[in-house]
């Protein structure tokens, strides 16, 4: 029971990752593949943030020394959660948005040329153009 309580957050995020992974490789519409990639990246971000939590701790905004009276008390580190995963995942969220924007631009260009968004029809048109 202690084992399940200690690890179930990792298992939930692995299930979410596998849903996104299945959408990326099994669907044949290009936009659905892109949505699967987005789900995958979101699950990875949540997985990473859940590593930095501590039991009974609050958000990392230091209260000792912020106001005038409690200046320079010793900071109890176990009261605040780890800020480092949040910092790294800020970069990851921005990279997620950038990849999504560039992928959408590429999908618009593919649609202009082939007039369809299904992967098997695009491969057929490409093969028939190559055989001419």
């Amino acid at each position: 029971m202690e084992f399940i309580i200690g690890k179930f957050n990792y298992w939930i995020y692995i299930v979410l990752m596998m849903i996104g992974f299945y959408a990326m490789i099994a669907k044949s519409n290009l936009v659905k593949k892109l949505v699967g990639m987005n789900i995958f990246q979101t699950a990875i971000i949540l997985f990473f943030i859940s590593i930095g939590s501590k039991k009974g701790a609050t958000i990392p905004i230091i209260q000792e020394g912020a106001t005038g009276d409690a200046v320079n008390q010793a900071v109890n580190v176990a009261r605040y959660i780890n800020p480092l995963p949040h910092v790294l995942m800020l970069t990851a969220i921005v990279v997620m948005v950038s990849t999504f924007g560039v992928a959408m631009a590429l999908i618009i260009m593919i649609f202009r040329k082939y007039k369809t968004l299904e992967e098997d029809e695009i491969l057929e048109i490409m093969r028939s153009e190559e055989n001419k």
Partner: protein
């Protein structure tokens, strides 16, 4: 085709769940991620940077070079969208 995709997904998921047996428990204050360098950031952020928000001081001061690279990444993606989609009339 979808059947093989399902097999691959299930095998990958099983391997990942098998790998989480060795990982630290949820909420453990003594895990390796929580005792490596972040206690130094939490203890010294007010006396070195006068900023109570530990996340802002780490992202803009202690790790400011990474944030410069990331701003360049988002600027590049904006330029790419303009270059790929604009058409000459």
């Amino acid at each position: 085709m979808r059947f093989f995709a399902l097999i691959a997904v299930i095998i990958t998921g099983a391997l990942l769940i098998y790998a989480t047996v060795d990982m630290p428990n949820w909420g453990d204050p003594n895990s390796p991620a929580n005792i490596h360098v972040s206690p130094r950031y939490i203890e010294k952020t007010i006396e070195e940077t006068a900023t109570p928000n530990a996340v802002t001081s780490v992202v803009a001061d202690y790790r400011g070079y990474d944030t410069l690279g990331e701003t360049t990444v988002i600027f590049t993606s904006g330029i790419i969208c303009i270059l790929l989609l604009r058409r000459r009339k």
